[in-house]
Symmetry: C2
Subunit: 272 residues, 2 copies
């Protein structure tokens, strides 16, 4: 059920602010493990991805979903004031933005919509609050409001798995279990038991619903989680391997390289 | 760290609306496993708890924390229009409102504050949205905003454990692990391993920080969670026992009765 999925949703911010960009603001072929939002209020940005160049103008909001390799810089005008936000949004091990596989741009030309969005950003980046708990709670509220606005503008991007999903479906129980036990060793027998199924029937069921066998899905999720930790925390490689359920660091590095074409250390460096 | 705790916070709503109360609105000696908010905009409510009677008037917000036995009814005026909300707010297995052990009342007499609070409630109970995902996200945002307002009004009620807590402390790692593995069988050896401690040292550490030994804490958490399921879901007793890590239904019923003085079935009936 959607409300259950959203009640379990964790939206995490990995940086963000209102900024007047210096001319040095540029990078080529970056890929991040979090989603990015850019919202210029004056000036212009150039973003290139998948062979297409976007000139992002004021009052246009751009979403660069995680995993989309892109380059960015100022344009000839050399002027850009923008809100920016890096974030993830997961519930039950699945990404709320899974249907966004490409860069998306929305116009916020009407004053009404513009005020709404900048209001959410201002609330998110405000620092003058009575205390740290109020501050964090309001930041969290802003993240939910910003995501709500994106889905209000893009109803067609609602994950199809969320529509008509029954409350506490086997699938959501399984995904939640995997998400919460990712650091542990997970076996088919154990997962099958969680939903009271025979292991063989469980594998068939899982493949049918998720499009891949359970152990492949678990490896995928472990690597994605590890990539996020690499790019957003300063945990040691060894800690990350342990947190994402890899038994040894060398096993982790080997799998990571096979999946992303670079070592964990290279990936971490590529962000800065 | 507070922001980490809040990013992991799940606020769940268990009913709520704007309602003109019928004269039948009354109950005696009820105890719930969720927090209650009452906010009259006209009329008056009588709430009695711990031998003290409150006459709750318009523009006064009342929090009845979970576990506080109370009675409620209309007053002689026989008129009450109010917003009400039942909710829980947990992160890492601990209640955001753990410092609220008694009924608390705040005045929202200024138009400014009144408009803010009713705005949050109206957003929470609104149903006209573009789609179900926008709706759920905005409801979630409202819950965070309402909690933010309560802590803005009561900075002294911030859980002391949150202040100056280091990022990813052993304690928060342990509490998160217990919270996520409550349905599984949990052993001291397993918990100690999670934070790389010797079992004996772990027990000493846990008692020191949490005021009770780990297994006692786990039992307490299991019973609290079970009580919540009983009062807010229609799961069978057997399912609840399994979800909260009790190996048999009879063991669950015995422990529940010892803790709350009534059987699970009696507790479920007491809510209605």
């Amino acid at each position: 059920m959607i409300s259950e999925y959203i009640a379990n949703l964790k939206i995490k911010q990995y940086g963000g602010s209102f900024i007047s960009c210096p001319s040095s603001w540029a990078a080529t072929h970056v890929t991040s493990s979090y989603h990015k939002l850019y919202f210029p209020v004056s000036g212009e940005a150039r973003i290139t991805a998948k062979g297409h160049t976007h000139f992002l103008k004021e009052r246009q909001l751009m979403l660069i979903p995680k995993g989309v390799t892109h380059s960015f810089s100022l344009t000839e005008s050399c002027h850009l004031e923008k809100y920016w936000l890096h974030f993830t949004a997961y519930s039950e091990g699945t990404d709320l933005f899974s249907q966004f596989t490409d860069i998306t741009v929305w116009d916020f030309f009407s004053d009404d919509m513009f005020t709404k969005l900048t209001g959410y950003f201002d609330q998110l980046f405000a620092t003058e609050r009575t205390n740290a708990v109020e501050l964090s709670l309001l930041q969290q509220a802003s993240l939910f409001q910003i995501c709500a606005l994106l889905f209000a503008c893009s109803p067609e991007k609602i994950p199809s798995t969320l529509e008509n999903a029954p409350l506490h479906s086997k699938k959501s129980v399984i995904l939640k279990y995997i998400d919460e036990h990712l650091a542990d060793s997970l076996t088919i027998e154990q997962l099958a038991k969680v939903v009271y199924m025979h292991p063989t029937a469980f594998i068939r069921y899982f493949k049918n619903r998720m499009g891949m066998p359970p152990l492949k899905y678990i490896k995928y999720l472990r690597l994605e989680r590890a990539k996020l930790y690499l790019e957003t925390t300063d945990y040691a490689i060894q800690e990350i391997a342990s947190l994402t359920g890899f038994t040894t660091t060398s096993h982790f590095s080997r799998e990571f390289k096979a999946a992303y074409g670079m070592s964990p250390v290279q990936d971490r460096k590529s962000v800065y």
